[in-house]
């Protein structure tokens, strides 16, 4: 079996990114849309860590930590909005929130 190169990780991260994008674009349930965003952020983290390893530095890993901190903040705010929305409109489906649409 050939040894693992940077390319393997980049292709894997690209595939995970596309899976996450697909989830964001096609699902109706907002909880699962937020989970898909987590998948996208994880794909970015894989790339950061891989290039950090490739160049022998640690900067990529530091930025991965910042991305994780952002993901935490995003999840907390997103789920807070979701709870407020469920209380006001009684739905968690993204395309039923269409007040600004005509």
């Amino acid at each position: 079996m050939q040894s693992i190169t940077t390319m393997h990780y980049v292709v894997l991260a690209g595939a995970l990114f596309l899976i996450g994008t697909m989830g964001v674009l096609t699902r109706r349930n907002i909880v699962i849309i937020l989970m898909s965003i987590e998948l996208i952020l994880n794909a970015v983290n894989i790339n950061l860590v891989t290039f950090s390893r490739m160049y022998g530095g640690v900067q990529g890993q530091v930025f991965a930590i910042f991305v994780i901190a952002l993901a935490v903040a995003e999840a907390a705010v997103g789920l807070g909005i979701l709870i407020a929305m469920f209380r006001n409109k009684g739905t968690v489906l993204a395309d039923e929130v269409d007040l600004l649409k005509w």
């Binding site: 980049v10 699902r27 935490v72």
Partner: protein, 171 residues
Amino acid sequence: MFFYIFALLTLGGGILTITRRNAVHSAIALIVSLLGVAGLYLLQQAEFLFAVQIVLYIGGIMVLFLFVIMLVNLDEAAKQAQFNGAWAVCLACLVGIGAEVWWFVSRSSSMAAWHKPLASVAAAVKGSGNTERIADSLFSEYLLPFEVASVLLLVAVVGSVFMARKESPQE
């Protein structure tokens, strides 16, 4: 060898996450996917990120997700159509993003380095431990972003508490 196992966990978990009808099943599939990513960190000698991934993502964010799933009644949503039918838009976006990434990757000037086995560059990483090096970098070179991130987290905590609270009667 381990790379393929973890890659399978990651991608399989990801696909299950976006296809399950029940949100709890999605959350469990996402945990599998995040565990696969944690394994990939371990393979790349990022031990600190491995611990952070398990503690923060799987222990923190996923518990938050499961809490919200229990708090919000999803039974009604599970009975309805799960996909919004925007397949053409989705396909166009996927093809666009895929082509863009492929184009940039194929034009990269460091292409030769991309095809070198990663095990051969591991020698350069020797020295002090991974956590120590991250801490050195985080608290000297990236001190300002670190502090900004702490303010951001404070804003997120206050904001989410404010949004999720019940309306107070005296207003």
